[in-house]
Every structure is written in structure tokens, then in C-alpha cells.
């Protein structure tokens, strides 16, 4: 007893001193409380949706809402997957996002290499046009972009989706910023070894800018995977729909069957969230560097 009292007493005496040292110590509690509230409001809706996608139709619209699914049903996912178009939409989204991402990574890196590492007449003008173009809001180009695609007979094809996205000015800008700060010796020694320009680019430069490549890959994939407006304009038939368009179609088909709609929305959400949790650093860095878009 005496021993425990002895050990307790000094800590008790120290506490008021600490409180005086940090007059805002109680603020910390409030800060964490707010952080907790914002965590619930940020991630809560998605977690609640995921959980609710296993509810029966009656439960999903129950008032007051239930927290956990009871009974727990898989049937929502069975119905969604049972729709033959749904798999097709998923595949279309993978083709659009995958195609745009791979091509944009390659082509913007190539353009970045030319603008960042080579000297040639017209270089400054191309770079300045790139900067200027980034400031034009997409609003002004939606209609003419559709008419161009339509005149080229590419409407309702994957070309309509992928071609405009396969070399984006912002990605080029990002690559230039990363490439132009690399030391000149990199290429010089490669040239002495007799490497071609393509090999220099592919084997020497590209490995040096992996963070930029990752950022470009992630931003392009996210943009294409989540894209709604351009597929809505460019695509016409159901079999060509991407997942966001398919969900739009689902909404008018299933109307208030939120159990099915929520299950469907998970296919649009979960892949990008998995990517985000793995590569979150690049998501956030990319978002900040895309600030120059304005």
C-alpha cells in the first residue's frame, strides 16, 4: 500500500505543473474530438454504404435506419452480376481507364523528354501553349469535342474515349518538371556508350522519374475510371457504356431499389479505394501538383 502511494504521489504532483506548461492541453481533446467527427463524416457514408449493400430491400430503406444488415444477404450482388450488361460495363471501364492510362503515361513521358531534355526550335512555344491550354476549362470544349469525334465517325467507340485522353497537357507538364532537373551527365554517358535516343529515354531517363510516372498513372486512371460527362456525351448504346454510365442507367431501371444500386456503386468505388490505400502518397501529391491546372 505504502509503496503504491509513494509511486502515485509524485505523478499527482507533477500533473498541475504540466498543465501550467501547456495551457492548451485541454484543446488537444477537442482537436481529437473534431478529427473523430470529421473522420465519421468523411469515411462514414462509404462504410455505411458498403455495409448496407448486404441488406435486404426493406432494410435498406427502413426508418429508423439499421446499422448492421439483418438478414445478411448476398442476393444484391447476385442480381447485379446476373445482369449480363453489368460485366460488359465493368470491362468497358477497364478498357477505357487502362487504355487511357497506359497511353498517356507513355506519350506524356515522351513529350516530357522532348520538352525537358532536348533542344529544338519551337520548344518554348509548345511548352507555353501547354501551359495556356491547361487553363481552359473543359466547359468550352465539350460540344466541339463531340462534333469532332462524331465527324471522325468515332462516336460510340473506345476511340472516342481514349484518343482525347491519351496525351494530356497536365501530364506532360508534370513530366517536364521532373525531367528537366535531372543531371545532364545521364545522357552524355549514354551517348558515349552509343545508345540510341529511344534507348536513352527508355532505359536511362524513365527509371529516374518513377514518382512522376506513378502520379500520372494514378491521376489518369482515377480521371477515366470516375469519368461521367464525356462517356455520357460520346457513347450511345448500352453495350458500350462504362460503369458510371451503367449506374446512371441502373438508377432509372431499379428506381428506388437502393439495395441493388448501392451494391452496383461499390464496383465503381472499391477498385479506386484499393488503389488509393496502396498509393495514397501519389494521389495527394498528384492532386496538389494538378493545382497548376487553374
Amino acid at each position: 500500500m505504502a509503496q503504491t502511494q509513494a509511486t502515485v504521489r509524485p505523478t499527482r504532483e507533477r500533473k498541475p505543473i504540466q498543465a501550467r506548461k501547456h495551457p492548451y492541453a485541454w484543446l488537444k481533446v477537442i482537436v481529437y474530438l473534431f478529427l473523430l467527427i470529421f473522420t465519421i463524416t468523411s469515411a462514414g457514408p462509404l462504410v455505411f454504404t458498403l455495409v448496407s449493400s448486404f441488406k435486404s430491400m426493406r432494410d435498406v430503406l427502413a426508418f429508423p435506419p439499421t446499422l448492421l444488415p439483418n438478414p445478411f444477404v448476398w442476393s444484391n450482388y447476385q442480381v447485379v452480376f446476373g445482369n449480363p450488361l453489368f460485366i460488359r460495363w465493368l470491362l468497358n471501364s477497364v478498357i477505357y481507364a487502362g487504355g487511357a492510362t497506359i497511353l498517356n503515361m507513355l506519350f506524356s513521358a515522351m513529350a516530357g523528354y522532348a520538352l525537358g531534355r532536348l533542344n529544338f526550335p519551337g520548344k518554348n512555344s509548345i511548352f507555353l501553349i501547354t501551359l495556356g491550354i491547361m487553363m481552359i476549362p473543359g466547359a468550352i470544349t465539350l460540344i466541339p469535342k463531340f462534333l469532332v469525334v462524331n465527324n471522325l465517325h468515332m462516336a460510340n467507340t473506345f476511340w472516342a474515349l481514349i484518343l482525347p485522353a491519351m496525351a494530356q497537357p497536365f501530364s506532360v507538364f508534370l513530366m517536364v518538371q521532373f525531367m528537366k532537373v535531372l543531371p545532364k551527365e545521364l545522357e552524355e554517358s549514354a551517348m558515349i556508350d552509343g545508345a540510341s535516343r529511344w534507348r536513352t529515354f527508355y532505359q536511362i531517363i524513365l527509371p529516374q522519374v518513377k514518382p512522376a510516372l506513378t502520379a500520372v498513372v494514378i491521376l489518369t486512371f482515377q480521371g477515366a475510371w470516375n469519368d461521367f460527362q464525356w462517356p455520357l456525351v460520346a457513347l450511345g448504346t448500352q453495350n458500350m457504356y462504362t460503369l458510371p454510365l451503367g449506374l446512371f442507367f441502373f438508377k432509372s431501371t431499379y428506381y428506388t431499389q437502393y439495395n441493388l444500386l448501392l451494391a452496383g456503386s461499390m464496383f465503381n468505388t472499391i477498385p479506386i479505394l484499393i488503389l488509393f490505400f496502396i498509393f495514397q502518397r501519389y494521389f495527394m501529391e498528384g492532386a496538389v501538383s494538378s493545382g497548376v491546372k487553374g
Binding site: L27, L35, T39, S42, L46, T49, F63, P64, S108, M110, A111, A114, N119, F120, P121, L131, I133, I136, G138, A139, I140, T141, L142, I143, P144, K145, L147, V148, N150, L163, P164, A167, P169, L174, F178, Q222, N226, F228, Q229, L232, V233, F248, K251, T256, Y258, L262, S265, N268, T269, I272, L273, F277, Q280, F283, M284, G286, V288, S289, G291, V292
Partner: protein
């Protein structure tokens, strides 16, 4: 920390490139075989990008402006030049803006943008400041806050359609406080605010990252000196932090404005502009005019007006928020 911008700003990039170009012996060596091969290689590397840049960005922008002077009926013969008629028609509607879908949408987006930009900027700054004050768990909280920003607008629209339904979670939470919530998305008064809330929710996290990056770059010695001089936390925030954050605040406000003015996905997906056009946005009106009425010329004129409004407002914001900036 992982939140620094990946590249310097446009201004410095521009300056750097111009300087670099001026110092290069490119002109002197023009004509030499080596230079010619380098030029050829550069343009080969640039070919795919130049194709996309010229067709889908440069040409398309000019084409959009050009279209606004034509009357186009897709599939019904050639376009006819009508001069400023599309614009005159739109501005004539200003005599009775309540009856004009376009000006109704403009009024909606103005209300929407003001509320969303103020809301998202304050929320983003608040989140960043909260994160800045803690040490343990900082990156975990940041990750959770960022989740709405990576989720697709269609998925969040679907989710909020469900949360906003009369018997949804939001009305349940309100009922706990004794408030009888409205049928949000079918209510002429509440539909637009409901979309505002959704947009603030989904965009604040992106801008939080901007503020976090800026807060990290703040000179700590100035803040410490203020503390030594006896400044309280509110004083050092309002007198030192906020003025130093001006460029970032401008960036956030400008990007928020540009984004909010072009709001489309949620308005199309959740309400399709209804009820009674209360959530009709200019982008939705442009879409409807072009693809439902076939008025591509008229829609292009609307796009140009929208673009000019965004442009003017961004410049005014720069003057007001960050007058010290160059350019």
C-alpha cells in the same frame, strides 16, 4: 511529409524555361547535322502529344468559339452563319431571366458557387489546421479525410441519393434533434443546398492537401517570434498564418470556383435539374440544349459566355485575395 507539390508553380517554370532557351546555343548551331537530328528526334517524341494537343485541345477550343456563330442542325444540311444571333438571343432573354433556362441556370450556379467555395475553403483550412496541431495519427486521419475525394462522383451521387431520401440517414439524424427533415431532392428550396453540401463534402479534402502543403512551408521562426512577443494562438493565426497563406487561399478559391461553375455530374445524375429547374446548372443546360434540342450553335454560345464569366471572376479573385502576386 508527402504533401509537397510535385513541381514548382507555372510562373517559375515559365521563367526557368525561357531563361534556359535564351542561354542555349540553339540558334548558333542551326543547320548542323547534330542539331537537325536532335530536332527530328524531339518532334518524333512529341508526335502523339502534338496530335492530341492540336486536335482535342487547340482546334476544339477555337472550333467551339467558331460554332457559336453558326446555326447547326446535326444531320439536316450544312451549318449556316448567323453572326452574333446566338448571343443576341441569349442576352435578349435577360429581359425576363426567370423564364430563360440559361439565365436560371446561371443564377443557380452563382448561388451554388458562392456557398460551395466558401464552405469548402473554410472546411479545408479547418481540417488542415486540425491536422497540423497533432502529431500522433496525423497521416491516418488525413487518409480518412481524403476518401471522399477519390470516390467517383457517380458513386457518391448514388450514395447521397439514398442518404437524402425522405426516410434516409440524414433525416434520421435530424429527427434525433427533433427536426423534421424535408424531402431534400424534391424540394424546390432544399434541392440546391443538398447538392452544395454534397459538393463541399466531396471536394474539401483535395483543398485540405493544398493547405497542408502550404502550412508546412510556413516560416516557423516568424511564428515563434510572435509567440515570444506574447501573441495568442488566434492572434498568430489571423495576423501571421492567414496573410502568409494568401497565395494558397487564392489558388483554392480560384480552383474551387472554376470547378463549381462547371458542376454537371451531380445535377445530371441526382436531379436532372429538377424540381422546377432549381438545380439546373449551365453545363447541364448546355448539354440539354445540344443533345436534347440539337442547338449546337446556341450551346456553344452558352459555353463561351460561361467561359468568359469564369475567366473574369478568377481575375477579380486574384485582385481581391492576392493583390501582391505577379502576372
Amino acid at each position: 511529409m508527402a504533401t509537397q507539390p510535385a513541381g514548382p508553380s507555372i510562373a517559375s517554370a515559365q521563367a526557368g524555361l525561357v531563361k534556359e532557351g535564351g542561354a542555349l546555343p540553339g540558334r548558333k548551331r542551326r543547320g548542323s547535322a547534330k542539331q537537325r537530328s536532335e530536332t527530328l528526334a524531339a518532334y518524333l517524341f512529341l508526335t502523339p502529344y502534338l496530335f492530341v494537343l492540336c486536335l482535342f485541345f487547340f482546334f476544339v477550343s477555337l472550333y467551339g468559339i467558331g460554332l457559336s456563330f453558326f446555326r447547326i442542325d446535326l444531320g439536316f444540311g450544312a451549318a449556316t452563319f448567323v453572326g452574333f444571333k446566338n448571343y443576341i438571343q441569349l442576352f435578349n432573354q435577360l429581359a425576363n431571366p426567370g423564364l430563360s433556362d440559361f439565365w436560371t441556370s446561371m443564377w443557380n450556379i452563382l448561388k451554388f458557387t458562392v456557398c460551395v467555395v466558401i464552405g469548402q475553403t473554410i472546411l479545408a483550412l479547418l481540417l488542415a489546421l486540425l491536422l497540423q496541431t497533432i502529431k500522433t495519427g496525423k497521416s491516418a486521419f488525413r487518409t480518412m479525410f481524403y476518401v471522399p475525394a477519390v470516390t467517383s462522383s457517380v458513386a457518391t451521387s448514388l450514395i447521397f441519393l439514398w442518404l437524402y431520401n425522405p426516410n434516409g440517414l440524414i433525416n434520421y439524424v435530424l429527427s434525433l434533434a427533433g427536426i423534421h427533415g424535408p424531402d431534400w431532392l424534391n424540394n424546390v428550396f432544399w434541392a440546391l443546398p443538398a447538392l452544395m453540401l454534397l459538393n463541399i463534402w466531396s471536394t474539401a479534402a483535395t483543398f485540405m492537401i493544398y493547405f497542408l502543403a502550404a502550412l508546412q512551408d510556413l516560416p516557423t521562426d516568424v511564428l515563434e517570434a510572435a509567440q515570444v512577443d506574447g501573441a495568442g494562438p488566434w492572434q498568430s493565426f489571423s495576423l501571421i498564418t492567414v496573410p502568409l497563406l494568401r497565395p494558397t487561399i487564392f489558388l483554392v478559391v480560384a480552383l474551387g470556383t472554376i470547378g463549381a461553375f462547371q458542376m454537371f455530374d451531380q445535377a445530371k445524375f441526382m436531379t436532372n435539374g429538377q424540381p422546377l429547374n432549381s438545380t439546373l446548372t449551365p453545363m447541364l443546360e448546355i448539354y440539354n440544349e445540344a443533345f436534347n434540342n440539337g442547338g449546337f450553335g446556341q450551346a456553344s454560345a452558352m459555353s463561351v459566355i460561361l467561359f468568359l464569366i469564369i475567366f473574369v471572376i478568377t481575375i477579380l479573385q486574384r485582385r481581391m485575395i492576392d493583390p501582391g502576386a505577379q502576372r
